[in-house]
């Protein structure tokens, strides 16, 4: 059987992490292809149901990328994201998902290298966790 390749959905803020991903691209910072970006205007826009939807559709991990606290393009949307993620982790655990499948990271527009490193790290961690319970059912 081929090595497990996790699929990660990333909801990324247009002003920071999405731009950081662009910068990682222009700087040709190679990273694993397992991540699919969904561009949002702010991490505070990420409705918990988007995260749940991604998990239910078989994503092995979800990343939310926002601006550093204090740097939010919309004043404090990132802080709202932080609170939601705290609650989401609680819910995920109850539904049998390891809470480490959901990551919230602050990645500034200038941090292309941080973006690439985060993806590498996350893919490795999720690989270690193995396929999500939904993914296992889908494959079976």
């Amino acid at each position: 059987m081929a090595e497990f390749e996790p699929v990660i959905v990333a909801f990324v803020c247009n002003w920071c992490t999405f731009t950081a991903a662009d910068l990682a691209g222009t700087s040709r910072l190679l990273h694993p292809p397992n991540v699919r970006l969904i561009r949002v205007m702010c991490s505070g826009m990420v409705d918990p149901k988007y995260v749940l939807k991604a998990f239910l559709e078989g994503a092995d991990g979800v990343l939310i990328g926002g601006c550093w606290p204090g740097d939010c393009h919309y004043i404090n949307g990132n802080l709202k994201a932080r609170r939601r993620v705290a609650l989401l982790k609680e819910i995920l655990r109850r539904f049998g998902f390891e809470e480490d499948r959901l990551w919230l990271r602050w990645i500034a527009a200038s941090e292309g290298n941080v973006f690439a490193e985060t993806i590498k790290e996350m893919v490795e961690k999720i690989k270690a966790l193995g396929p999500s319970q939904v993914r296992q059912k889908l494959v079976a």
Binding site: V7, V9, N14, W15, F18, T19, A21, D22, L23, A24, G25, T26, S27, R28, L29, L30, H31, P33, R36, L37, I38, R39, V40, M41, C42, G44, M45, V46, D47, P48, K49, Y50, K53, A54, E57, G58, A59, G70, D71, H73, Y74, I75, N76, G77, K80, R84, A108, A109, S110, N113, A116, R135, L138, V139
Partner: protein
């Protein structure tokens, strides 16, 4: 109706196609539901590429379009235009996928990249079918432009904006505009003088009616969006008003010297300064930090740093004037103050605290009190009575007299001064000193009535009847506390206060040969030392704790021991032993220290069975004093506490009786003289306000605070604290003064040890010499709000500090300079007036060098520091070489140690040729190190540059007199913070990142924010000016077009779903959601909403959504991305 979707995949040359198998992706996409056209093209963004889309729309009756190419941040707008031209709504019918930055450029494997591209496009096709039509909104553009940074880039941009007829705000952090360019002497390769071409720009900026200059100011916050920015700017307090004519008299008299930043700290400037004579604006500025810890610690609030600075300059009378603004008895306090200021003195971090008390005394003893000028006082009619002439009473009298009130002090004793006079022995405070200072009060108009007790015969109420309109009670604490042991009433047991009073009044009380003093405070020590002087053969002090807990001043205890007083610790008296009605001895008990009590000192506990006897002919009890309030008996409305003190308001010092104020020991119980003086001043302020009918509380209490102090440089040479001259112990037989003060030659040197914590000392010398009355020490920071349409950031660079590269000896050898320091040595306004001179070990400039080495690439092109090339060093190094030859003569040897010479600009190569022809030595090889370790006589006293000449393949040792390090240009230290404020990205080199390295050289990640000059990367003056003009042109394009399109992707709330819970309103950071009471729903204010989606993500009923980011659209995108998992690769 079925959707008809067209998908367009860009090769981007080989950028995408080199990794993603485009044709395979195209064929795959063609199989997706509703996709009727799938094409790939070499450059989709090109004209033919866009035309492809425009033509297909009508031809294939497309309803939606997906473009897969670069990042939408790059070309989303381009393709929206194409879709619009094809006849479709650019939001409803278009979605863009990034398969370059997020896919082909970052993926190693071709298969993986191709698979990822398929996933991304499938998601987009899924999503686009749910898009809704939206129209972009246009907003007007505020034509004003903010320019941040007043260097050559900022000045040029401001001038260009102003020339176009728009308003430019130029914000500069420094007190002057000009920037680094104005620090330079000449500019390469034309050798025009930087001042000659720079100062006219500065003047033009200042004179332009369209430019508003905000120097010494910093941008704190930026909000809004392109065309409509609101900017908050803090104008730091300059303490000098624009009326300043720039005459510089203030700087001449300022006592505080600081390193001059403009001269790269090679020289010094004053606390009130101007960067250089041609500064714009010409207005001086005062560097002021929080008041020093000494000032904050002084109960009386004396401006310690100020008077110390003046004493340092020998201005003793001015120092005294400053002291006496807060403290009327300087010579007295200069002798007996506990000096809390010295305990917090930050010089102590370095070596020892300043001898502040001795300095105060020194100043007071230097002036001629008889002829000390009396300030002009405007007399007032009201009369104030003061009861008691101790420090509190005298202080209140002094400040009231200065206000012009007619003050009478009623003193019960035959002498004035209270405890100062009768409590402190003459050998510590000679009566002449007190008398001369009280004499000055008399000259101010204060009347002192001696032998005039207030009490039964002459009551407090009588004073009001006699015409006094306010009374200040300050009778002190003169009653000795009782020992509370049997036999206390025996003859020979004397309370210390009575004993000291008798001594001080000149009578010589009878004491036996064996004297025992009980207590551990200053009074006990005073009594003991006085007893010694009266001829006692043995004097001992019994104290129930240990020496560490003794409240007496350490120097007093020391002096007592020197004079033969014995100290017995951990001993308490139990009973006085009498014989024939006279004291014979004391029965005592040994103590040990137990748990700490309320004062934090460990409580002494008797050791059972440890009793013993001490022989004594006289016992002096000095265990504390209490106020005597018997004189207030029968006075109505005046409250006295259970502790026997008068009750007052802690801020205003009002008693419970109208018009009566109180302070000093009478209120606090025994405390220090300086606290009493402080209380007297506060009472004077209250009485003044009371008599004028003003609010007694307004602005009180006011104490300076804060800890933003100047740094104490560890490089300051250590110097011990000056010591006062004292009478040798064998000469201390009478009551003449023991401490003789600081010797004249030590006093100003001691004052100069001050580290000037507050920088400006507020000595007010500048105020007294400023004819324009431009100085305002009370000035405060001002915050202004600006409204602008665009922002140009031109914040420049920092020169790298080469200290960490120890091999070059910077900071170790005085004649290793940085390039910027060398510019200042060359500059006519610099520390040497433009002469190239060497420094001696103390930093003083001496003689011109005979040989100079210029070391290129220090910190640039160095993987350990900065990989990049600083671009300007080769050229200015050549300029330096020329200037050295030019100024010092051809015989001066100049060596350039270079890696490569980069002379790429117009006239640059020609300049190199010229400098080479002048005989400058060019050595190809980076210097390895600089050392002063000579190997032979020719190297003695020289700096030896060790390098490999890579052309000869030989190791060289070149002895020179001076070394110049061409240090790297690097990003400003606070570049990250500035980047955050303005929403600019930062590149890997730390400099601000332009939007595109070739095509958008001045735009940034935030629309309407542009960058120019060295903040974007190292560059020379011509490039900086060119970039500044480019940035100005971008800003002006916005100003002149006057409109800007803003994305319509804002929130909306469906009124049919909204239940009116209003949770969204609390979440909205912009207060953009209003509540419609009649319909009971929340409503988005479209003009205010920014589209962040905080409301949408939280709305419990799902009524709030952000246009273009709806649940349906996002769900479809997620489905598309993950479809492969559900249906396998074939999907």
């Amino acid at each position: 109706m079925g959707e008809r979707i067209g998908v367009y995949i860009c090769h981007c040359g080989t950028n995408i196609a080199g990794k993603v198998r485009v044709s395979e992706v195209r064929d795959y996409v063609a199989t997706l539901k509703d996709v009727v056209v799938a094409r790939d093209y070499l450059f989709m963004c090109s004209d033919p590429g866009q035309e492809l889309i425009e033509k297909d729309i009508p031809e294939h009756r497309l309803t939606r379009v997906v473009v897969a190419s670069c990042s939408p941040r790059m070309h989303e707008i381009t393709f929206r235009g194409a879709v619009k031209r094809g006849g479709l709504n650019p939001f409803r019918s278009f979605h863009m996928v990034c398969i370059r930055e997020h896919c082909s450029w970052v993926t190693q494997d071709e298969d993986e990249a191709t698979a990822k591209a398929k996933d991304l496009i499938r998601a987009a096709v899924n999503r686009v079918r749910f898009h809704k039509p939206l129209e972009t909104v246009e907003y007007p553009v505020n034509p004003n432009v903010l320019i941040v940074g007043g260097g050559i880039a900022g000045m040029q941009a401001a001038l260009d904006v102003a020339k176009a007829g728009y308003k430019a705000y130029l914000v500069e952090r420094q007190p002057t505009i000009g920037g680094h360019m104005l620090q330079f002497d000449k500019t390469f390769p034309t050798l025009d003088c930087a001042s000659c071409i720079g100062t006219p720009k500065m003047v033009s900026v200042a004179q332009s009616p369209n430019i508003e200059l905000l120097t010494y100011s910093e941008v704190e916050e930026v909000s809004g969006f392109i065309g409509n920015y609101r900017v908050r700017v803090r104008k730091k307090a300059r303490y000098v008003k624009p009326e300043c004519t720039g005459c510089g008299e203030c700087s001449n008299v300022c006592p505080i010297a600081r390193p001059n930043e403009w001269d790269e700290r090679l020289g010094q400037r004053k606390a009130i300064y101007r960067s250089f004579p041609q500064a714009v604006p010409v207005t001086f500025v005062i560097e002021k930090k929080d008041r020093g810890p000494c000032v904050q610690a002084c109960p009386a609030g004396t401006n310690v740093q100020g008077y110390v600075a003046l004493i340092g300059q020998g201005k003793n009378q001015e120092a005294l004037r400053l002291i006496m603004e807060k403290l009327p008895l300087p010579g007295t306090l200069g002798r007996i103050c506990p000096a809390p200021c010295e305990k917090v003195c930050r010089r102590g971090d370095l070596d020892e605290p300043l001898a502040i008390r001795e300095l105060k005394r020194y100043a007071a003893d230097q002036v001629d009190w008889e002829n000390l000028p009396v300030p002009a006082i405007e007399p007032k009619k009201q009369r104030v009575a003061i009861v008691g002439s101790g420090p509190a009473g005298l202080s209140a009298a002094y400040f009231l007299a200065l206000e012009g009130y007619r003050v009478t002090i009623f003193e019960a004793l035959p002498v004035a001064g209270g405890m100062l006079r009768v409590g402190i022995p003459d050998y510590r405070l000679p009566p002449e000193v007190l008398e001369r200072e009280i004499g000055y009060l008399r000259r101010l108009g204060v009347e002192i009535k001696l032998d005039s007790p207030i009490g039964a015969g002459h009551t407090l109420d009588d004073l009001f009847e006699e015409g006094y309109q306010a009374v200040y009670l300050a009778t002190g604490a003169h009653r000795s506390a009782k020992l509370g042991i049997p036999g206390e009433e025996t003859t020979g047991v004397i309370p210390a206060t009575s004993f000291l009073k008798e001594v001080n009044l000149g009578s010589r009380p009878q004491i036996g040969p064996e004297v025992v003093v009980i207590g551990g405070g200053n009074v006990a020590v005073d009594a003991a030392r006085s007893a010694m002087r009266l001829g006692a053969s043995s004097v001992s002090i019994l104290y129930r704790r240990t020496r560490a807990e003794m409240p007496a001043y350490p120097e007093e205890i020391e002096a007592a021991i020197e004079e033969g007083v014995r100290l017995e610790f951990l001993v308490a008296p139990v009973e006085v032993i009498a014989q024939d009605g006279k004291v014979k001895g004391l029965r005592c008990v040994r103590m040990e220290l137990g748990e700490p009590d309320a004062t934090g000192r460990r409580r002494p506990v008797p050791i059972p069975g440890s009793e013993f006897q001490v022989k004594a002919d006289t016992v002096i009890s000095a265990i504390g004093q209490v106020p005597d309030t018997r004189f207030l008996e029968g006075i109505k409305g005046l409250q006295v506490s259970g502790r026997g003190t008068v009750v007052v308001d802690p801020v205003t010092y009002e008693t419970t009786k109208k018009g009566v104020f109180a302070g000093g020991d009478l209120v606090t119980g025994p405390a220090t003289a300086v606290e009493a003086v402080a209380a007297g001043r506060e009472a004077a302020i209250s009485i003044h306000r009371y008599l004028r009918g003003l609010d007694l509380r307004e602005g009180r209490p006011s104490k300076p605070s804060g800890q933003n102090w100047s740094e104490v440089s560890p490089e300051i040479p250590r110097r011990p604290r000056a010591k006062a001259i004292t009478l040798p112990p064998d000469k201390r037989k009478d009551f003449s003064e023991v401490n003789l003060g600081l010797p004249r030659e030590d006093a100003s040197a001691e004052a100069q040890r001050c580290v000037s914590c507050g920088v400006c000392s507020e000595c007010m010398e500048c105020v007294s010499v400023c004819k324009a009355k431009a100085i305002d020490h009370k000035m405060e920071d001002e915050v202004v709000e600006l409204e602008v349409g665009s922002i140009i950031v031109a914040t420049g660079y920092d020169l790298m500090d080469p200290t960490p590269m120890t091999q070059f000896g910077y900071g170790k050898y005085p004649n290793v300079f940085t390039s910027l320091e060398f510019e200042r040595l060359n500059n006519a306004t610099g520390p040497t007036g433009g002469k190239i001179l060497m420094r001696d070990q103390n930093g003083a400039f001496t003689r011109p060098p005979e040989s100079v080495a210029i070391l290129h690439c220090i910190g640039s092109r160095d993987v350990n520091y900065h990989e990049y090339c600083s671009r300007v060093c080769c050229m200015y190094a050549l300029k330096f070489a020329h200037l050295i030859k030019d100024k010092l003569g051809h015989e001066t040897q100049v060596y350039n140690f270079y890696i490569d010479l980069r002379c790429f600009g117009k006239g640059y190569e020609e300049f190199l040729k010229r400098v080479q022809d002048e005989g400058v030595m060019m050595i190809r090889g980076k210097a390895a190190r600089v050392t002063d370790e000579a190997l032979d006589d020719s190297e003695k006293g020289k700096l030896i540059v060790v390098a490999e000449d890579t052309l000869l393949g030989k190791l060289l040792r070149v002895p020179v007199d001076m070394v110049i390090l061409c240090a790297a240009m690097e990003k400003r230290k606070d570049a990250e913070q500035v980047a955050r404020t303005f929403g600019i990205s930062i590149g890997r080199d730390g400099f601000f990142l332009e939007e595109h390295p070739k095509l958008e050289p001045v735009s940034t990640a935030t629309s309407g924010v542009f960058i120019a000059g060295a903040c974007q990367g190292p560059k020379d003056i011509p490039d900086t000016v060119a970039q500044a003009k480019a940035a100005a042109s971008e800003a002006l394009a916005l100003s002149s077009y006057g409109r800007v399109s803003v994305s319509p992707t804002i929130a909306e709330i469906d009124p049919y779903i909204c239940v009116g819970c209003q949770v969204c309103r609390g979440l909205c950071a912009y207060s953009a959601i209003e509540f419609d009471e009649t319909r009971n729903v929340s409503v988005v204010n479209e003009a205010v909403c920014k589209g962040c989606g905080s409301c949408a993500a939280h709305c419990p009923s799902g009524a709030a959504k952000v246009k273009h980011f709806t649940d349906k659209q996002l769900f479809a995108e997620i489905d598309g991305l993950l479809e492969r998992l559900r249906f396998g690769e074939a999907a």
